[in-house]
């Protein structure tokens, strides 16, 4: 099985990493390489888009949590969007959804980002 990775800019200084196919022990190194090249402390937010991801194993989860750690350390936002039921279930099994920002779809994430933006404006 294979993994397709697409990286696109997000508003502010963000990046979206869209992953499609299978994120497992064979493909996790590919994602790690992309993350190493693209994600650093100046990126905010980092969005992982799971829309076309069919399969996720613990090897893939490790890469996701390594990326979360980069964002936690820099104070950047780490957002997960479009989790299919079988992918969400894997996060639930390892009890990792608490403390993570997970959005069921793009609209829900856009609402959140807009609300954050308004808060920043109010504070100005």
């Amino acid at each position: 099985m294979s993994l397709n990775i697409t990286i696109t800019p997000e508003s502010d200084h963000g990046k979206r990493i869209s992953i499609a196919g299978s994120l497992d022990s064979n493909t996790a190194p590919q994602l790690q390489q992309s993350i190493d090249a693209e994600i650093n402390e100046s990126v905010d937010p980092t969005v992982i888009d799971f829309k076309d991801l069919d399969f996720l194993s613990s090897a893939g989860l490790r890469v996701i949590f390594k990326t979360k750690k980069i964002m936690d350390n820099s104070g950047g936002r780490f957002l997960l969007v479009n989790l299919q039921p079988q992918i969400k279930k894997v996060f639930e099994i390892i009890k990792a959804l608490d403390g993570m920002q997970v959005f069921k779809d793009q609209d829900e994430m856009d609402d959140y980002l807009a609300a954050m933006q308004n808060k920043v404006k109010e504070g100005e």
Partner: protein, 141 residues
């Protein structure tokens, strides 16, 4: 070595992570032949992946190629998936190197937790210099 038509279909692959694709193809074929529900299929697929990766990563202490056999057995309310290899004694259930720390999930240790969550029983035995590890999923048709 693919005997999907038998009562106890089995497949033998080598201890190469790329061979997971062969196990998945075998699972697909078997799941289709018995009309396995999608949610059970998804659970078994992930449990198979995690088990295979563990065996390949920890059950062999040399560089040579080893065979790993996966067998299915289905009865009325349960599916048993057995993995057999001739590696060093390795019980995935008692792998002390691998514990899951919720604050350090980037360090791993999630595989066994996932296997335990997705299957109802797990059983390890060392039989005649072989590791025999069986996962059981209860189900109703």
């Amino acid at each position: 070595m693919n005997n999907a038509s038998e009562d106890n279909p089995s497949i033998t692959v080598s201890n190469n992570l790329l061979d997971i694709d062969k196990l998945f193809a075998f699972l697909d074929q078997w799941a289709n032949s018995i009309g396995l529900a999608k949610d059970i299929y998804n659970d078994l697929k992930l449990a198979i992946d995690e088990t295979f990766v563990n065996i390949v990563s920890y059950a062999f202490d040399d560089e040579s190629s080893h065979a790993i056999t996966m067998k299915f057995h289905q009865s009325e309310h349960r599916i048993d998936i057995t993995f057999i290899d001739n590696g060093i004694a390795f019980d995935p259930l008692n792998d002390s190197n691998k514990t899951m720390d919720p604050d350090n999930l980037d360090k791993g240790g999630m595989g066994i937790h996932i296997i335990r969550s997705l299957t109802d029983e797990q059983h390890y035995e060392r039989i005649e210099q072989r590791n025999v590890f069986t996962l059981t999923k209860h189900y109703t048709r």
